[in-house]
Symmetry: C2
Subunit: 373 residues, 2 copies
Amino acid sequence: MRDANNIHIKDVKNLLDKEKNSLPLFSAENLIKIGIEIFRGMNVPLEEASLVSELLVKANLVGQDSHGVIRIAQYVKAIEEGEVKPGAKMKIMHETPSTALVDGGNGFGQVVAKKSMEIVIEKARKNSVSTVCAFNLYHIGRLADYTEMASRCDMIGVAMVNSTKCVAPYGGRERVLSTAPISYAFPTAKEMPFILDMATSACAEGKIRVALHKGEKLPYGYLIDADGNLTDNPEDFYKGGALLPLGGDLGGYKGFGLAMVVEVLSGILSRDGCAYETKKKGNGIFFQAIDIGSFMPVEEFKRKVDDLIRIVKSSKLRPGFNEILIPGELEFRIQQKRLKEGIYVPDKTWEEIKAIAERMNIDLSQVLSHNQR
Amino acid sequence: MRDANNIHIKDVKNLLDKEKNSLPLFSAENLIKIGIEIFRGMNVPLEEASLVSELLVKANLVGQDSHGVIRIAQYVKAIEEGEVKPGAKMKIMHETPSTALVDGGNGFGQVVAKKSMEIVIEKARKNSVSTVCAFNLYHIGRLADYTEMASRCDMIGVAMVNSTKCVAPYGGRERVLSTAPISYAFPTAKEMPFILDMATSACAEGKIRVALHKGEKLPYGYLIDADGNLTDNPEDFYKGGALLPLGGDLGGYKGFGLAMVVEVLSGILSRDGCAYETKKKGNGIFFQAIDIGSFMPVEEFKRKVDDLIRIVKSSKLRPGFNEILIPGELEFRIQQKRLKEGIYVPDKTWEEIKAIAERMNIDLSQVLSHNQR
């Protein structure tokens, strides 16, 4: 999600400047290799190990480090504890020409999600519009990775997932809903693709974890403590507090409403279950693809989306803003930078990865090319 | 939209109490009759006059007076000026088994929208999921009226429309986007139906107009003035200011992202045009219906939505809140009250209606039953 990494659009210049002073420790290529070796060491089939590693590193590339290689240790643990089953058999439980309900067989979220998006794209190709839901899978990572698959096929991609509870309803103080992200992707002609990927909560959970690890406060408006009072202390979230829905006191009922929509579509319709249920573990999936060609020539659509993007970006600025960024643009820029300069991996994450590699007798120096970390 | 009438969920009790002191001047039945007579006087076919009047009054009933009979004068003017063509011929420009692109023929928005939702429901019945876009129509009113049609057919209803520009992008100060409302409706078993209908802007335009007419200030966070500074003065909106996207300074890029999604789906894919285009007049339509039975037994779906609603509503409250209301609940309660006690029509609106009736030689006393206004 756009906000998973504690980034504000206003801060993009600061962020890019700040990173210039950090050592670019890893190339994306090397991080992917490390991931693959580790997952292979856990008996994950090569194809799955590659996909999961690529998507984790992609999250790092676009600046969403909380969805990146920091998760390797968590995934290894999940495999060990049987929470995720590498090589799981997916099964289509029910199907029509334009819908499918997929049982993920407790597999990697990325694997089930990619396959589900392939199914929904294929169905939209034949039937103009399609919906696929999936249940029984682990975390899928960034929604943008899947909706982008649709937009690359000249389709409109839609994705919603729910997960475990951490968001209070508008007016409530208990965790009942999930951060319930939504993603839409549209192809463009010359502009970069439009990819919205946003939590319907005030911020994503990763943002709180990052603030906690850095010992930083959060702005008022993201969190409430266990008594339901606004707080700027990320610790309060882990002491019975909750995230607030998008919109704050003025408009929080809208973020709350959207979160309920995501809950119904990706939790109930998918059969994966709602955030509030104690059995809830991974993501429930709701995917859609819409064939643009069924409405208008694709090139015309792309040109018009380009026009919209240009008009929006060229409109006059508010005081305090340097620029208007369209959804996906920040991630795109960070990716360009990190592809060139490398990905910074915090020491704690690197130590975790090294420890796992040692335990598996993987010689990381053999894995890394060019003698480079 | 939920916020079209300057209502906050927190204020529902106050609102209902306050209304007890107003004279309940009109029954819904009488207001509908008045609307029908006036539109019939403008040579609007009976079926269209009935539908438009019913939906305007429905807006009053659910508390969204800015979408109610206050619009009769505007619609009459629009007919006179040729902006809307009663009895217009709709045409399906392009069609697949699960999609349609509808040319509204410059007709009443309500008429085109109802027909478009009927088409999308019929297509979803046969093909599980469907999408219909429509262009060249006037304003359609509340989206909830159409998504509710789908939920009554045991389907999931989705609606998005764009309109003329009044919202600034996140970071911008110019009007480029529309309030870009979104609606989702789900059927329930014993709970009232879930109907989300929300602007993706900080508030709906009607809220500003209401504040202006009452001489009241608005909370900071809704509006910027022509220089892009936050303002609480509704007049600033009409002096070159703009509405802000949902989410405020912390999360406004999310409301902005959603508004762009609505712009692309209901403005570009529909061919009706984007908010920023000078030709833009009415609403562009993007409708979807999803057949629940293609995924699971409908009764199971409804029971599970009921469960979610109950869990959400019964969760512990934050200080300052009396209750958690689910999307559509506020409107439902106001409707129950106004059906019983009547609809209050402000003097200015009533004078406008009387003047139109006189001009058309319609004797309103003949129209009203029971000698009651």
